[in-house]
């Protein structure tokens, strides 16, 4: 008969950790060399050396003397920064050396048939190896990025990140960005109300509600399918042409708000609906059993719970909306993007558009963190022992 001891008669011997730790050593070394190469290029770029000058010095076979003479002019703090950066890749050798030591320890333990010690050392060694490799990848990508920006006489850097131009035009672009902020702030309020109305219209109960449900469904289908740039274009240019009173002579910003509300109202209506449908039917039953009617049940029991659940997807849609405010340039509104494009063509440089890009990213990050905090606060309030 088979016993358990039969099955474990041959314990597994750990594989040697040497190859992996050697690979880690190789990768760390290459990473360090690449880093130093990029830093050298960076020093040259900072000293204002052009590709042409490099080519000439190579031709005259005096590359090092010429280049060292140039970089020696750099101020001391530039050297300090470069030196600190040059030390960064050396940190990779801490895990690498540990990996190799552990791999050797594993080999020794195996010679003394100490299986358990060998396994522990092997596991440690491979952990340290992967640690070194993972950080190497990060360092390579980071310095690769720097190289990309400074290559070809700082081609990318001068096209997108011309700091003096950015600094000079920042206030113009930022004040134009207030138009974007105004558009999405107002639109968000409208969208919250309009989206809820559409969502509730899609859920009106009974056979009598059929036509209302149908209308609401048609609306969401149409405006989710329509690209928002087309909606903005049609409304922004079309409504003034109709000559309707009030509706025909609003400032362009309000057409943008109107168009974005129509588009994003359709998205947000679906988010609301999903949130409302995610509330368990027993909540509806409990509220109705207390004598609350359908409207009261929705208002006090279902919608408040649904809103807590839909805040994260709602933020998603709002970030989409905020980015889409850049589309209002098609109807000639001077928003941040339009302003920066004008500046870009006046200065033959895209750096002013980079400012807009940075502004859009900067406004979304605090919102995401705020929502996280709100949800956490609400969760800790309603849950757990008190």
């Amino acid at each position: 008969m088979n016993t358990h001891s039969d099955r474990f008669r041959a314990p597994s011997i750990p594989k040697s950790a040497m190859p992996l730790s050697t690979a880690a050593l190789l990768i760390s070394s290459l990473t360090t060399l690449l880093t130093w190469f990029v830093l050298w290029q960076l020093a040259l770029a900072m000293a204002g050396v052009t590709e042409e000058q490099v080519a000439v010095s190579l031709e005259k076979k005096m590359y090092w003397s010429a280049m060292l003479a140039r970089v020696s002019d750099l101020p001391w703090f530039a050297w300090l920064v470069l030196a600190v950066l040059a030390l960064v890749p050396l940190l990779l050798f801490f895990p690498t050396v540990k990996a190799i030591l552990q791999a050797r320890q594993a080999r020794t333990a195996l010679q003394f048939e100490n299986l358990i010690a060998a396994r522990v050392a092997t596991a440690n060694s491979s952990n340290f190896s992967w640690y070194a490799i993972g950080y190497s990848v990060f360092v390579v990508l980071f310095f690769g990025g720097i190289w990309f920006v400074i290559a070809k006489d700082i081609a990318v850097g001068n096209t997108f990140f011309k700091l003096d131009l950015m600094w000079e035009k920042a206030s113009l672009v930022v004040s134009a960005f207030l138009t974007n902020v105004f558009i999405f702030m107002v639109a968000q309020v409208f969208i919250l109300i309009w989206g809820l109305l559409i969502a509730l219209a899609r859920m009106v109960p009974g056979a009598a509600g059929q036509p209302i449900r149908l209308l609401a469904t048609l609306y969401t289908d149409a405006f989710r399918g329509l690209p928002s740039v087309i909606t903005i274009y049609l409304i922004g240019f079309g409504l003034p042409l109709t000559g309707f009173p009030i509706l025909g002579d609003l400032p362009p910003v309000w057409y943008a708000i109107f168009a974005l509300t129509l588009t994003y109202g359709a998205y947000v209506a679906e988010v609301y609906r999903a949130g409302i449908e995610s509330i368990h039917p027993s909540q509806m039953m409990a509220a109705r059993s207390l004598g609350l009617n359908f409207t009261q049940t929705m208002r006090f029991v279902i919608v408040p719970q649904a809103i807590r659940r839909i805040i994260p997807p709602l933020l998603n849609d709002f970030i989409g909306l905020q980015k889409d405010t850049a589309l209002v340039n098609v109807i000639g509104t001077i928003d941040a993007f339009n302003q920066s494009r004008i500046l870009a063509s006046n200065n033959f440089n895209l750096s002013t558009v980079t400012i807009v890009a940075i502004l859009f990213v900067l406004i979304t990050i605090p919102q995401a963190r705020l929502v996280d905090r709100l949800l956490e606060k609400d969760a800790s309030k309603t849950r757990g022992a008190k």
Binding site: S282, Q283, M285, A286, A287, R288, S289, L290, G291, L292, N293, Q296, F300, V301, P304, Q305, R308, K381, T382, R383, G384, A385, K386
Partner: protein
């Protein structure tokens, strides 16, 4: 005229007949227990009485007034008939106090002060006044169910329907809820309850009905149903309960 009359009530879900002609009456201040195997229709019957499920046939009357069928003011009916569920169904985004005050304020249009003083009184009665500001998820199952009972009582119903209110509770929490129901019975509250707590049913009820496959298979005093049931099905059911060690 009985307080509650259920005449030949039928309930179908598609092709499934859940209630197949239920006849039952409850007198004022009576406590009637519904017992029977799972799926026999106990919960469905309670929901039909409260108007949460429309019935497919027959009629339900309270004090002679027909409360089933088209045109009945179900919101009004539910004001008079409270129901407590197996899974508590408290509103998780509201405090205990808000849970209890919601219906009195919105349906009975009581002022905030009136509703709160009524709620505090009820919380004192279910011995949870110190939990007024807590949220449901911060309470034990037994405490949540006591709040659910207080919430139903806040509407001052004429009839209470209790749907297996201890089935979702840990055994050590059952007693605190049953004690409360016992008190209500002693005060003369008219109650109709579906339960698996046979010992409790025996002790508290004025009448026990054994439901089987959507009809009242046997009914009588608790002494007779538990002591000397006449029907084979009833005997079989009670035998399996005893074998399971639940009585």
């Amino acid at each position: 005229m009985s307080f509650l009359e259920i005449n030949n009530v039928v309930k179908r879900f598609g092709s499934l007949d859940v209630l197949r002609g239920i006849n039952l009456s409850v007198e004022e201040h009576q406590v009637v227990c519904l017992i029977g195997p799972s799926g026999c229709g106990k919960s469905t019957l309670l929901r039909c009485i409260n108007g949460l499920e429309p019935i497919s046939g027959g009629e339900i009357r309270i004090l002679g007034d027909r409360v089933s069928g088209a045109g009945v003011d179900v919101d009004r009916l539910r004001r008079d008939v409270g129901i407590v569920f197996q899974s508590f169904n408290l509103f998780p985004h509201m405090t205990v106090l808000e849970n209890i005050c919601l219906a009195p304020r919105q349906v009975l249009k009581l002022s905030k002060e009136e509703a709160e003083s009524r709620a505090i009184e009820l919380l004192r009665r279910v011995q949870l006044e110190q939990k007024a500001k807590a949220f449901p998820d911060q309470l034990s199952g037994g405490q949540q169910q006591r709040v659910a009972i207080a919430r139903a009582l806040a509407m001052q119903p004429m009839l209470m329907l209790l749907d297996e209110i201890t089935s979702a509770l840990d055994p050590e929490l059952v007693a605190e809820v049953l004690d409360l129901v016992r008190d209500l019975a002693a005060e003369g509250m008219t109650m109709l309850l579906a339960t698996h707590e046979m010992g409790f049913a025996k002790e508290v009820s004025s009448k026990v009905c054994f439901l089987y496959q959507g009809v009242v298979h046997e009914e009588g005093s608790p002494e007779r149903i538990f002591g000397d049931p006449t029907e084979d099905r009833t005997r079989g059911f009670l035998k399996s309960i005893i074998e399971a060690g639940r009585m």
